[in-house]
């Protein structure tokens, strides 16, 4: 209250040097500086308990040491780990993380504008991946000098944005092959929405693995959901009429829905049917029985996205695209088919 704000000027006065000198020791530019001077400054800083003002610094340097993160669909199970991964990477790099959300294209646009006004150094999005989503405002931001990296968003080939993408297709293959390897032949699939790249690719993986195993693709063994619990439950109820011995569910909460349907039907897992889920492994880990799943490395995605953003600040022309591998976590819902 009573005491004046302590600025670089107070420190300079206290140490009997110029502001530039203080600034230099703060920035570690002390190649040509008398040790004695440096120590005097350090002592003054310590004694006055000087805290540099980042906003003044940002104004002068035109960099804020802050990265913006825009999250679409916050109810998604993948959302928390992405945030955590991004925050971690930011912290390690000495950056701050400014968070915003977006439910739709319009609010995404508003969030991007907020980020631009706040002058974040780069932007990462984990967002809406529908086909029709438009990314021109992002490209604009990118070419205006703000690196943008999109996580799990479907983008045209010629986009200027860096990107992190999961190998959904390989994941779908992995899941399905695991079931085939156990000896299953009637393998059903609860697919994601057909208007989402994630849904499409996971399904392609499923079909590829079946073909590779010499199993014919039965349309009647495929049902489409929308990643919701209810849709998983509904789809499973329908599919059970076809008596599959295994099912690959293309989403984690859909898988929980399917489990509920099976419980309702009195079908024992994995005795009568095997089930593999897909998504955030923590989401289905605590179900009983613990659900075998394809692990989407989603915290990694957050971390990698920030790293790409950071790197792009150095070399804005070098667009990078990173494909993240999935892996199979075998738990308790998969077993060989009953004889």
């Amino acid at each position: 209250m009573s005491n004046q704000r302590v600025t670089i000027r107070s420190v300079a006065d206290a140490a009997g040097v110029s502001m530039s000198t203080v600034s230099n020791v703060l920035s570690g530019r002390h190649e040509q500086m008398a040790v004695e001077t440096r120590e005097r400054v350090l002592a003054a800083i310590e004694q006055l308990n000087f805290q540099p003002n980042h906003v003044a610094r940002s104004l002068a340097t035109k960099r804020t040491a802050t990265i913006g993160l825009i999250m679409g669909d916050v109810t998604n199970s993948l959302y928390p780990p992405v945030t955590v991964g991004a925050e971690e990477a930011c912290r390690q790099a000495g950056y701050g993380l400014l968070l915003a959300t977006a439910e739709d294209s319009a609010s995404e646009r508003r969030s991007v504008e907020l980020m631009q006004a706040k002058r974040v150094d780069a932007l990462v999005l984990f967002a809406i991946s529908y086909f029709d989503v438009e990314s021109n405002h992002l490209s604009a931001a990118q070419s205006a000098g703000m690196p943008v990296v999109a996580i799990n968003r479907f983008l045209p080939e010629d986009t200027p944005l860096s990107a992190v993408w999961f190998d959904h297709q390989a994941g779908g293959e992995l899941a399905t092959r695991h079931l085939a390897d156990l000896g299953h032949r009637r393998i059903a699939h609860i697919a994601g929405p057909a208007n989402r790249m994630t849904g499409i690719q996971r399904r392609q993986g499923y079909e590829a693995a079946l073909t590779a195993a010499g199993i014919r693709i039965h349309p009647s063994l495929i049902a489409e959901g929308d990643y919701s619990f209810a849709s998983g439950e509904r789809a499973m109820l329908t599919l059970w009429q076809e008596r599959p011995t295994a099912v690959f569910v293309a989403g984690d909460v859909m898988a929980l829905g399917a489990m509920r349907a099976l419980a309702r039907l009195g079908v024992r897992v994995p005795d009568e049917i095997s089930l593999v889920a897909f998504g955030n492994p923590d989401c289905v880990r605590y179900a009983t029985p613990a659900i075998t799943t394809i692990d989407l490395p989603v915290a990694t995605a957050g971390r990698v996205a920030v790293e790409l953003a950071l790197r792009r600040m150095q070399r804005p022309e070098e667009k990078e695209v990173r494909l993240l591998e999935t892996s199979l976590l075998v738990r308790e819902t998969t077993a060989p088919p009953a004889a």
Copy 2:
């Protein structure tokens, strides 16, 4: 690239007015301004696509229109909704949300320093609520003029911080009374850690409700967990030997652990035992059967915390403490005891 940065000065020049005038229209201070002038400025802004620079503004006004959120224990199921609630409140108020995490006291301190350096206008913490956690750095920040509001953190009576707290005790009572009302007498409790206020209060609620229902408190019907899945599983395994007909589990993932234990034991829920959980309702909603739970209004907590912070910026002397009510969500794991 080619075009110069467009600042308030460019706008002023284009409109043939002074920078002050532009600033005035930006801030909506046009009481005494010729309509014609105002329109000219607006037109120039539009035409040049001028975006005000928030960091320059922050430097001048000493306010950043940003709130800092420090999250402890990001694996906690309560963490995502708090963030979402806080972000929502910030967005509505035209504020940004700067996110940081803290695993322990030391990293919390570092995060607070980061926030101070970045000059956030206020700080909200959802954090470590152990008894021994020290809050002096927070009090210091508060008295240095940065409002601090703590969510679900145990604080001394005379703290200067605003706070949001859940009524854990009432929640514990609610859960236990629900079971007693159904006719249960042998009601077990899987408690939270005895060194956490949350654990203690939930247990007090349990004991109060038993007493109110004229049921004696049996220490052998109480087991202590640490909010982890494994501890819930372990505790349930032990408690089952006492043959309770119901159990109140003081945490959501502990409850999932208890469900697993019961499944392992072949005990049917709710036929042979009723179970009530406590925490984020979404966490246990998709278990099968869907778990009856005490709903902690955790998104609300994030929202309210931001509101308190905002209000405290106006009247720094007025500390507020808000107690949030819990409610009972009856789902499928509770029923009258078997005859």
